[in-house]
């Protein structure tokens, strides 16, 4: 029972990341009609915002390292610690949550620049061309990050207070064996909050209403005198912010490296396809569903019956869903069917 609950928690946590990335992908596809293969790179950029914030907060003076005697080595003492002592150390410790304040404006700016500078020129081109150009964009972003931060993962720890594990079992009177990392629980809650805010924004604001109308029928909305293009630029920025937030908060779980976006991209596309192209609730539902199924498929008991199932389960589900419901779980009629 404990093992099942642990895998359920794993699935929710993993599904949170899938859902956030897939939500942004679906938003861009549903509004702009662009298949954005650069979306994983935006997730990676968000994670590197956490790295940058950590570097900013640990800006240091170089002090000769007396413990290294073979050659002249220097160690770095952060200014924050020199100036503020323990308070400075605490601020550095909270660098990941603090980085969210950097993620929102930075990713909005990145999203705006990409949409105006590149993506808008490909609205009327074929999906194959869109995929090629956005995939190229992802490679460029990756290489920029690698040139500046190297290829190795960079440790970006969570604040000390949430670095350990929560005794989830004791909360529900199930003993002490059911423990789960605090940060992963926080990530799941965080992903739910972001998804809720994104849905509320689209559902209850005038801007959101126009965007939803644009997703349904772009030409009619334009004929009503609404500058739908400008709103779509903001939507691209919004998708970039969601991917960035997902990436930054994922940094303590997966030390960021330049390639992390690609690792999530393919899975997220499958999430979008399973959920239904252009369906926001479908993307979220499929994200959690696939995350949970992937976790259950990794259990030793399952793998002893079906060896290797953990590595193909997502693709298997995609095949089954597309056979039974060709438009995905919550897909709309007419999307990508022309």
């Amino acid at each position: 029972m404990d093992a099942l609950l642990l895998q359920l928690l794993n699935g929710l946590d993993k599904g949170g990341a899938y859902a956030l990335i897939a939500l942004g992908l679906t938003l861009v596809f549903g509004t702009l009609g662009v298949v954005n293969f650069g979306h994983g790179a935006l997730f990676m950029l968000g994670a590197f915002c956490a790295v940058v914030m950590q570097k900013i907060l640990t800006l240091s003076e170089k002090v000769k390292d007396e413990s290294v005697t073979f050659f002249d080595a220097y160690k770095e003492v952060p200014y924050l610690e020199t100036w503020f002592g323990e308070t400075g150390t605490m601020i550095i410790d909270w660098s990941v949550p603090i980085s969210l304040f950097l993620v929102i404006p930075f990713m909005m700016l990145v999203g705006w620049a990409l949409e105006r500078g590149l993506i808008k020129h490909f609205y009327k081109r074929t999906h194959a061309e869109q995929i090629l150009v956005t995939f190229g964009l992802a490679i460029v972003l990756q290489e920029i990050i690698k040139a500046n931060f190297g290829a190795n993962p960079i440790p970006t720890p969570a604040p000390d207070i949430v670095a350990g594990s929560a005794n989830v079992g004791s909360w529900f009177g199930m003993g002490d064996n059911l423990v789960y990392p605090w940060w992963r629980l926080i990530y799941f809650i965080f992903s739910m909050i972001v998804i809720f805010i994104a849905f509320a924004f689209l559902k209850f604001t005038t801007f959101g209403m126009v965007v939803r109308a644009g997703m349904q029928d772009r030409d009619t909305v334009s004929m009503l005198g609404i500058n739908i293009e400008r709103r779509f630029t903001i939507v691209f920025g919004l998708a970039a912010v969601i991917a960035g937030l997902a990436g930054a908060m994922y940094a303590p779980t997966l030390p960021p490296d330049y390639h992390m976006g690609m690792d999530f991209l393919v899975l997220s596309f499958i999430v979008v396809v399973v959920g239904g192209m252009g369906s926001l609730p479908g993307a979220v539902l499929a994200g959690f569903l696939l995350g949970i199924l992937q976790s259950f498929a990794s259990m030793n008991e399952v793998k002893s019956i079906l060896p290797g199932i953990d590595q193909i389960i997502i693709y298997l589900i995609a095949v089954v869903v597309l056979l039974v419901r060709p438009r995905g779980l919550m897909g709309r009629k007419g999307v990508m069917e022309d």
Partner: protein
């Protein structure tokens, strides 16, 4: 006067023998001159020789590749008589003179392996066929090493492997033209076993998470073999896909499995991620079967340890070499590398630097660049002063045998580089194994 035009048979024999002896005389003063014949990229009368440094410049191991390249550049500098000489001053017996190799200046070309076998083979081929590389060296992956080694055997060019840890490189895939200075998974297991017994006891239950490819299987096999010899039980050995990223679904079953040791047969990014996540799940601080739960990472690297940050503290593993060693060879190399680049070298840098010097020295010993003679000079060569104590390039499989380091993540690092603490320098005799144990055939000396 009548001229005597006829020669006696005795005179003829004397004259012809004298001519033959005079003609052959220079050969006696030129070592191995009998074997000198044309070969791939023979520098002939040229003033320089070109070496090919095939390292990962892109991809997941680009940082290790960059460190390997730094070491190669330093080795070239030292071979050409520039800089402080580094380990050339401590290496013995040495035929190196600091005037290049056999009087020819050492130059180099570089290739990018991308940590992909096909790309590595292509770049090696390009360096041999277009750039005139006389020897290929480098790499940070066993898959790459095996592929490039096979190509070098076909091409008749020596391959001095960089970082490659799988048994296969000098086991079932060994080649006459390939040489490995780095240790292997068998040696890691043999070195780690007694230390694990001392630190953790004989009554342990291990759970393996293993990267699902050649090196991971090799590492898992060695650790299982040596830990089970101690009396440990293996609870499970679970294969994880290479580059899995999130290992949570593989780590959670460990929590209540009854195991009290987690062995992470992962390297590179996988190691960083799986170790980080295992610590997040509380495994380092957990109690199981009435004992402290332990995590073991059989192959440690300082560059990877940097990625894992605080999570490596207290974790046991093995390494080929560490910059904190205080023997004169290590000290000379660290001083030279540190002065050049401002930080100490990694184990990948060390093995690459050593391999370059060993190749150059073998050419000097052989008195020629002709590969079969250089190979013979390397086979069975015993040396010291290169940071691992007395070392031998075993003739039968081209594997270097030397002391192996068992290390532990440092709880109280004295500097930013002091990530690994050397727990024990395991003597060479303890990690040696019969030459035929891992199979394979070296193949012919002459290019076929």
């Amino acid at each position: 006067m009548k001229l005597k035009l006829t020669q006696s048979r005795r005179d003829f024999m004397k004259t012809s023998s004298g001519i033959a002896l005079a003609g052959a005389a220079p050969m006696f003063f030129m070592k191995n001159a009998w074997a000198e014949k044309d070969f791939v990229n023979n520098p002939g009368d040229g003033k320089s020789v070109t070496l090919g440094f095939n390292v990962p410049q892109t991809g997941a191991y680009a940082d290790e590749g960059a460190d390997e390249l730094r070491a190669y550049k330093l080795a070239v500098k030292h071979l050409n008589g520039e800089g402080d000489g580094g380990m050339m001053n401590t290496f013995k017996p040495s035929s190196l003179k600091g005037n290049g190799v056999l009087g020819k200046k050492v130059e180099y070309v570089t290739g990018d392996t991308q940590t992909k076998s096909d790309a590595a083979r292509s770049s090696a081929k390009r360096m041999v066929e277009k750039d005139g590389a006389l020897m290929i060296t480098g790499g940070s992956s066993s898959g790459v090493a095996v592929a490039v080694q096979a190509y070098c055997q076909e091409a008749g060019v020596l391959f001095m492997a960089g970082l490659t840890h799988s048994n296969d490189t000098t086991g079932k895939d060994k080649r006459r033209y390939g040489f490995r200075h780095f240790f292997n998974t068998e040696m890691s297991g043999a070195a780690l076993g007694p230390v694990l017994e001392k630190e953790m006891g004989k009554d342990r239950v291990a759970y393996h998470l293993t990267a699902d490819y050649n090196w991971g299987w090799s590492q898992e096999g060695s650790i299982k073999k040596y830990s089970e010899e101690l009396g440990w039980k293996t609870q499970a050995a679970v294969r994880t896909p290479l580059g899995a990223g999130d290992f949570s679904q593989y780590i959670t079953p460990v929590l209540n499995s009854g195991a009290d040791v987690l062995v992470l047969n992962h390297y590179g990014k996988d190691m960083v991620n799986s170790l980080t996540q295992a610590v997040q799940f509380g495994l380092r601080d957990k109690q199981a079967n009435g004992k402290d739960f332990q995590i073991v990472v059989p192959l440690f690297s300082r560059l990877m340890a940097q990625g894992a940050g605080e999570n490596i503290k207290g974790i046991y593993g093995t390494t080929n070499w560490n910059w904190s060693l205080e023997d004169e060879g290590s000290a000379a190399f660290v001083k030279s590398f540190g002065a050049e680049y401002g930080f100490p070298p990694s184990q990948a840098a060390h093995t690459c630097y050593v391999q370059t010097l060993l190749y150059a020295n073998a050419c000097e010993m052989a008195g020629t660049f002709y590969p079969p003679e250089v190979i013979k000079a390397l086979e069975g060569f015993e040396f010291d002063g290169m940071g691992n104590g007395a070392t031998e390039y075993r003739a039968e499989d081209h594997q270097c045998f030397k002391d192996v380091l068992v290390v532990q993540g440092n709880d109280n690092p004295s500097s930013q580089f002091d990530l690994l603490k050397v727990v024990q320098e395991v003597p060479r005799a303890q990690v040696e194994y019969p030459a035929d144990m891992l199979g394979g055939e070296l193949g012919p000396y002459e290019k076929s």
